[in-house]
């Protein structure tokens, strides 16, 4: 990951680190406790068709461009740690996309 978001400072590991940390911190905020609770226990919601369901949000894909993809690559392991903390791996199986390797850039 040379840069993220356009600020090009190649070769400086400090900024590389900061970009990644900030991106992860923002995702950390996005996947808040409410979402994690919904992920684990479901969210009871009466949909527009008047049927009450217990909805479980699942992340299936994440598409990103060339430079961003490398930020997202780190995100895989990061999300895994967040959604499946130590000790709960056996209870909630790892989804397929967590085990996928990133697609190489053509």
């Amino acid at each position: 990951m040379e840069h993220a978001g356009g600020d090009k400072l190649p070769g400086d590991p400090l900024f590389t680190h900061c970009h990644r940390e900030l991106f992860h911190a923002q995702w950390n905020d996005l996947l808040d406790d409410e979402f994690l609770h919904g992920y684990e226990h479901g969210m009871v919601f009466e949909c527009g068709d008047n049927i009450k369901r217990r909805l479980f949000p699942r992340i299936f894909t994440y598409s990103a461009d060339y430079p961003e993809k490398y930020v997202c690559t780190f995100l895989q392991a990061y999300l895994l740690k967040k959604l499946w903390p130590q000790g709960s791996h056996s209870q909630y199986p790892q989804p397929w996309w967590m085990s996928m390797s990133p697609v190489p850039h053509p």
Partner: protein, 403 residues
């Protein structure tokens, strides 16, 4: 015989009546969708008996390795569940449903045709998205004002001859009433249009919305402004080495669950939302084995596996919940966007699509199926340096950025 001889040669000539275009020129239209299984699985056999001769019908069967290899590979053999297989259509396509997740009667596929959601949304009057509002031209008071407002905002920034013709067309139409415009408060309407999300909004959140509110507001109900802090480990060459906090205060995001709630509370969206996955398979007319067909996310192995895991997963024992457990498939994508031709104004939005909706709907821009979830911030190197760079390092940074 005599009359035939008198007729022109072109008429007398014998013709093939069953002429067909060559196969490669034939246009094969999509098949109408197959009927879905009956809602009550217990009645299946009875329905089958009644409709024995009608085609197509549903036949329940227990999965065999040939019939549903996906099911066998996706879950352990001990947990085999009954599946329902539709009859093949003329292309040899058929579907395999789990018996326990048969779609209900108002399933998306019942309303067939190209772009059902789009057609529905385009035909739906505006008042459907504005519960409690009588005026379909809200926030404009009447149709004439709405036409003029639409012309002003949506027909391009620079006025051209075509724009002029459009304006003349609006004014010259028989329905246009110039007296309607006199009472219109344009400033108030523009302010209302500009306040984010005030036009289409979850009815449960309308109370928190105030007309003319600022675009980004914490109490907006959907958009949240967050402060994010990271620890920056400054190396030894900096003025103050060691970890220091770096804070951004303008990370705007929405709650992901509130996006789901907003989408699914809309009956039009919910109607075309696939909660029940199925496996789409193809079998050649001469063939014995069938093969899986890739298509939608809700027919993918990943979705089916996640759905089955969810059905078999133990829930919290404290809640004896009997509600149907369904998956909402989030598909994120993000791309940093340069906003202006000159300058460095840019945005890095995070979008989210729902995999439960058909990809043919999702790829239609005017269907508006994409939701904005967040706007990522990036490190501002000049903010970073302010605290911890000496003058030499700062000038080095400037030069390296320019070069």
């Amino acid at each position: 015989m005599q009359t035939e001889d008198d007729a022109p040669l072109a008429v007398r000539r014998s013709r093939r009546t069953n002429r067909q275009l060559q196969k490669r020129f034939r246009d094969m239209l999509p098949e109408p969708p197959l009927p879905l299984p009956p809602q009550d699985a217990d009645l299946l056999l009875e329905v089958d008996a009644l409709q024995a001769n009608s085609s197509p019908s549903m036949t329940p069967n227990v999965p065999s390795p040939q019939a549903d290899p996906t099911a066998q590979s996706a879950r352990p053999p001990s947990k085999s569940c009954a599946v329902l297989t539709t009859q093949k259509n003329s292309f040899g396509l058929f579907r395999v449903y789990d018996e326990e997740s048969i779609p209900n009667a108002n399933n998306p596929e019942d309303q067939s045709g190209a772009g059902p959601l789009l057609a529905h949304r385009l035909n739906a009057p505006t008042s459907q998205t504005l519960p409690g509002s009588v005026n379909p031209f809200h926030p404009y008071p009447n149709e004439s004002s709405w036409l003029i407002g639409d012309w002003y905002w949506n027909q391009g920034v620079q006025k051209s001859k075509q724009n002029f013709k459009q304006l003349v067309g609006i004014i010259a139409s028989a329905d246009f009433r110039s007296e309607d415009l006199r009472q219109t408060n344009w400033t108030a309407i523009d302010r209302q249009l500009g306040s984010l999300g005030s036009v289409v909004r979850d009815p449960s959140q309308t109370t928190s919305m105030t007309a003319g509110s600022e675009e980004w507001e914490a109490e907006d109900g959907s958009w949240i402004r967050r402060v994010i802090t990271i620890s920056v480990p400054f190396p030894r060459r900096f003025l103050h080495p060691g970890p220091r906090n770096y804070t951004i205060s303008n990370f705007y995001r929405r709650s992901l669950l509130s996006i789901i709630r907003e989408i699914l509370s809309d009956p039009a969206r919910c109607r075309y939302f696939w909660f029940e996955p199925y496996s789409l398979r193809w079998k050649h007319s001469d063939g014995v084995d069938d093969i899986g067909v890739h298509g939608e996310l809700f027919t993918s192995q990943a979705f089916i596996a996640a759905h089955r895991d969810l059905q078999s997963a133990p829930l919290d024992p404290s809640t004896s919940c009997t509600l149907p457990r369904r998956i909402v498939a989030l598909m994120f994508w993000s791309d940093a966007t340069q906003l202006t031709a000159f300058g460095d104004a840019k945005l890095w939005p995070l979008y989210v699509y729902f995999g439960n909706e058909s990809k043919y709907e999702r790829c239609t821009p005017i269907a508006n199926l994409c939701s904005h979830a967040a706007y990522f911030q990036t490190i501002c190197i000049f903010c970073l340096q302010r605290t911890n760079f000496n003058r030499f390092q700062f000038s080095y940074l400037i030069i390296s950025k320019i070069l």
